[in-house]
Each structure stands twice: as structure tokens, then as C-alpha cells.
């Protein structure tokens, strides 16, 4: 199944375009079924998926660490295999695992990264990056003396050292405390304001919900959905109406069968679940019918499902 996914930047050519990309590892495992994806410049795109879905594989191919089995990837029109210098110079990668040198100082490692990507030395830029990541005071420390969270910041600093136009963050907040997570989100917003396109993978739905413009859901190597975050939440989000009853109810009256209500909390609450996208929401009718039946309620509230619930339901549907 191949589809062209909606991209917000239709008029401008996409900064990243992936066509029919597949990957089968030497073990025979197909980590990516044909994947199509376009990312617009300046976008924040979140790739969601359970363990082993193929997120890291997808990112690694774009960055040149894993060779694709078939398909095509272009970065600003340049082919990742033929014009690898062009594409890689534009990309920064923060890997999922904490791969760092031990004995090298923070300053030397970011300087190395910049040189490696062919950029002339620019201490002012490196200082700015280190300050933004609260690493400036640690610049002369060896990486091995830093905490895990600090090491992750170092990896981000390395990825930003050569001023990439696209930044890949592979689970940037895995194993990171709340404060650093907030910092990270703030950094991502700052980067976006300066025009950097950001593609991140995450297990934390709140992260996608908090930051992303669009969300892609990948499961077993298949990109099962790509959607604007707000549209996705509207479209797939379930809404729930909960009525707190005056008197506990033993069973749901036959007259209310059409609404498929659920009794909760020992009969004290009536729960009505409906699709947010459903136009014919039956709330007024339900309330009217309840009145006719003489069912009294003290309170009522509605709730909308989070991206997390949407995601879980999507992935489990596939199983």
C-alpha cells in the first residue's frame, strides 16, 4: 500500500522526501515495508511507534548509517547515496544510544564534530550551542565525568555543531528527567524558529502532542498513518461523556440501548463514548431520554482521548 501523505508545504518542494523505501537486514528481517514520506521545511515531525517498529532504521538510512534495500531518499532534492556529501552536510543526528567518547572534553568533541562535517572552525557558534544546552561550564570536562542527561546534551551539541538544516532526534528524552525534558522541548522550539526542520522519534505521546506539527505512526515497518496532529486528534479522538448519577443504577434501561452506555463505579456513573468525528452526536437526545426516564444526575463532564490512546488503539487494531 503506497500513498502520498499530505504535506503542509505543498507549494515548496519538501526538504526530505522518501519514496518506496524498504530495508531488509542481513538476518532476513524486513524492518521497513515500502515507506513514503515527505517532510516540509521548518516542520516538526514526530515518528511514533512501539519498540522495533523501524524508527531508528528509517532515520539511520537517511543519515547514511544503514544502507537501504530499495527506494529513494532525497534531501533538498539531493540523493542520499549519489550526493551524500550534500545531504549529510545538511543533517544532524542525535542517536538513541549514548555513544560518546570517554576521555575527550566537551569542547574538543563539538569542535571535532564541526570539522568532521567540513565546516570551518567557529568558536562563537560552538559557544552559543554549549550555552543553550547549559554545557558551557562543563566545556573542559571529560565526557566520562558527566551524568547521563549531560551526555545526551553533549550529543545534541555535537549534532548542532555544524549548523544542520535538518535535525534528527532519536528518542531525545528517553531516560531524561522532567526538567531536562522541558529544556529539550524549549530548545526544539528555538531551533524551529531559526528554520531547522526537526524529526523526532518518541514513545512518549505527550512529547508528540506537545511539540509536533505532524505525527507519523509506524508499526512493524509500516507507516500506518501520517496526519496533522490537530486533525488527527480531532478525527480519531474519542470523546467521552460521564454522568454522575444521583441514585446508583442496577442496569441500563432498555430504552437507552442505542447509546451503548457503560455503567461504572458501582452504578454511580454512566459513561457514553462517541467518536469526535461523528456529526450525529447523540448527547441532546440522550439527555432528553434520561429526563423522560426520570434518571437524575448531579454532574456531568466530557473528556477527549489523548494522542496516546489514539496511538495505542491504532497499533492494536493492526495486531
Amino acid at each position: 500500500m503506497r500513498r502520498a501523505w499530505p504535506s503542509p508545504a505543498r507549494a515548496v518542494p519538501p526538504i526530505l522526501s522518501i519514496r518506496a523505501l524498504t530495508k531488509t537486514y542481513a538476518s532476513g528481517l524486513q524492518a521497513l515495508k515500502p515507506v513514503d514520506l515527505e517532510i516540509g521545511k521548518g516542520e516538526i515531525f514526530a515518528l511514533l511507534g512501539p519498540n522495533g517498529a523501524g524508527k531508528t532504521t528509517l532515520i539511520s538510512i537517511v543519515c547514511g548509517i544503514v544502507t537501504p534495500t530499495s527506494g529513494e531518499v532525497r534531501v533538498q532534492g539531493f540523493d542520499i547515496l549519489k550526493d551524500y556529501r550534500e545531504t549529510r552536510a545538511r543533517i544532524g543526528l542525535v542517536p538513541q544510544e549514548l555513544h560518546t567518547d570517554m576521555f575527550v572534553t566537551v569542547w574538543n568533541t563539538v569542535r571535532f564534530s564541526r570539522g568532521l562535517f567540513g565546516k570551518p572552525a567557529d568558536p562563537a557558534h560552538l559557544e552559543k550551542v554549549l550555552r543553550e544546552l547549559s554545557l558551557w561550564d562543563k566545556r573542559d570536562d571529560r565526557i566520562m565525568t558527566l551524568s547521563g542527561g549531560m551526555k545526551r546534551r553533549v550529543l545534541i551539541a555535537k549534532a548542532l555543531a555544524h549548523e544542520p538544516e535538518i535535525l534528527f532526534l532519536d528518542e531525545p528524552t528517553a531516560g531524561v528527567d522532567v526538567e531536562l525534558r522541558r529544556d529539550m522541548w524549549a530548545l526544539v522550539r528555538t531551533l524551529r524558529e531559526s528554520g531547522v526542520t526537526i524529526i523526532l522519534t518518541t514513545h512518549y505521546i505527550e512529547e508528540a502532542e506537545e511539540m509536533a506539527d505532524r505525527v507519523g505512526v509506524i508499526s512493524k515497518g509500516e507507516l500506518i498513518l501520517v496526519e496533522e496532529k490537530t486533525a488527527l486528534m480531532k478525527k480519531l479522538g474519542k470523546k467521552q461523556l460521564t454522568l454522575h448519577l444521583q441514585e446508583p443504577m442496577a442496569e441500563i434501561p432498555a430504552a437507552l440501548v442505542a447509546w451503548r452506555l457503560v455503567l461504572k463505579n458501582g452504578g454511580c456513573e454512566l459513561e457514553y463514548t462517541f467518536d469526535a468525528r461523528d456529526e450525529r452526536v447523540g448527547i441532546p437526545a440522550l439527555l432528553k431520554r434520561l429526563g423522560e426516564l426520570g434518571v437524575e444526575y448531579r454532574d456531568l463532564h466530557t473528556a477527549q482521548s489523548s494522542l496516546e490512546e489514539i496511538f495505542v488503539s491504532l497499533v492494536s487494531e493492526r495486531r
Binding site: E86, L93, H99, G115, L116, G118
Partner: protein, 256 residues
Amino acid sequence: MNAFNGRGVLAIYLFEMSRFNRTFWQSLVAPVITTSLYFIVFGAAIGSRMGELDGVHYGAFIVPGLIMLSVLTESLNNASFGIYLPRFTGTIYEVLSAPVSPFEMVLGYVGAATTKSMILGMVILATATLFVPLSIAHPFWMVAFLVLTAATFCLFGFILGIWANGFEQLQFVPMLVITPLTFLGGAFYSIDMLPGAWRTVSLFNPVVYLISGFRWAFYGTADVAVGVSLSATLGFFLACLGIVWWIFRTGYRLKN
């Protein structure tokens, strides 16, 4: 921007050299002490009873072989460790994702390892002058053989570091292959001193050509004609280059 990424090469080169600086003393002291012991035992104690070989005092005769022995071993160790370490720690991801061509990557890693080997070779040569009077008949060719040998075995080490899947394997090849080849390569004797059949066998040992050519650069005498030595050394160098080229073409053990 399809140009040569000189800054990338320099970054790798300096990174590798700084690793060397951190372990500067270990890298140099051990080989220097070992070589000094060889001079004391072989050069002075045994050499005094040996007289001259090919018209050269025995203590001086073994100098080229000793330098080669150290350069070969250290080239292999340094270069294999240099590329194995980032594979082992995972930091190789950055080099693989950088706009660096395979050639540039080899240039950075192997270039740094070769530099280290050259420094080591020179330090041992300087140490040798403390023990025996030395003369170098063909300084240009001496340096040329040294560079070529160091570069070849650094390439070989690079291949080893990519092939190895554990520290044991990394130690295994230098231990099991190179040391015997060097000892049987005429470091301490002229292969003319071997019985006929063994002399023929020796000619299949590539190290014989390296040491022979190197000794010729010092004393103008050799077990094998210098042209043959040079061709064999070059051939070995090109073979290593070929394997490296294949590694990058297939992504062998570097990319999935």
C-alpha cells in the same frame, strides 16, 4: 560541494593524534625499553661473539630488523585499535553520518596511525645510536621504506580493526601471525644463513622483503635484490588498499 573534505580528514587525524598524546609515554616507552633489551642481549652479549654479518657489525646488523619489528607491531596495534574502538563504543555513527568519503576516512585514520609509527621508528633509531655506531647509506630510501611499511601495516591494522568482533581477535593476529613472521623474516640473521630449503620457504614471507629492503637502505647489502623488495612491499600495500576498497564498497561490518 563534491570537493575533498579536508577539514573532515584533519578532524579525524587530530582526534587520533590526541588519543596518541594521551598515551604518549605508554606508546613509546614500552617499545624503547624492549628494543634496548634486544640491543643489550643480542647486540652486546651475543653480538660480541658473532663478529660481522655481510660486512656489518652484528649489533648494527640487527637495527633495521628491530625497527621494523616495532613498527610492524605498533602499526597493527594502533591502526586496528583506532578503528575498532569507535565501532565498539558506537561513536562510529558520527563518522558514518558525516560527509566524509571512504578515502578520506582511511586517510584520517591510517594517516594518523602511520605518523605514530614513523615517530616510533625514529625514536627507536635514535635509541639504537646510543648502543651501536650507525651509518645510513641511502637515507631517502630508508625513509621511503619506513613510510611504505608503516602505511601498509596501518592499512592492514585498519582491516583487522574492521574485521575483529572482540578484543581477543584484535590481539590474536599480531600475536599469532606477525611476530613469528618477523622473527622468521631475517630480523636477527641473514637468510643466507638458513639451510637451503628454509631459505626458499622464507621467500614466501613478506616480512623478509621489508626487512631486507630496509637493511639495504642502511648498509647497501641485502638478502634479496632491492628492486624485488620494493616491488613486494608495494604489492602488499596495494593488496591492503584493495581490501579496504572492497570493505567500503560493500559496507562490510561498518554498515548494515
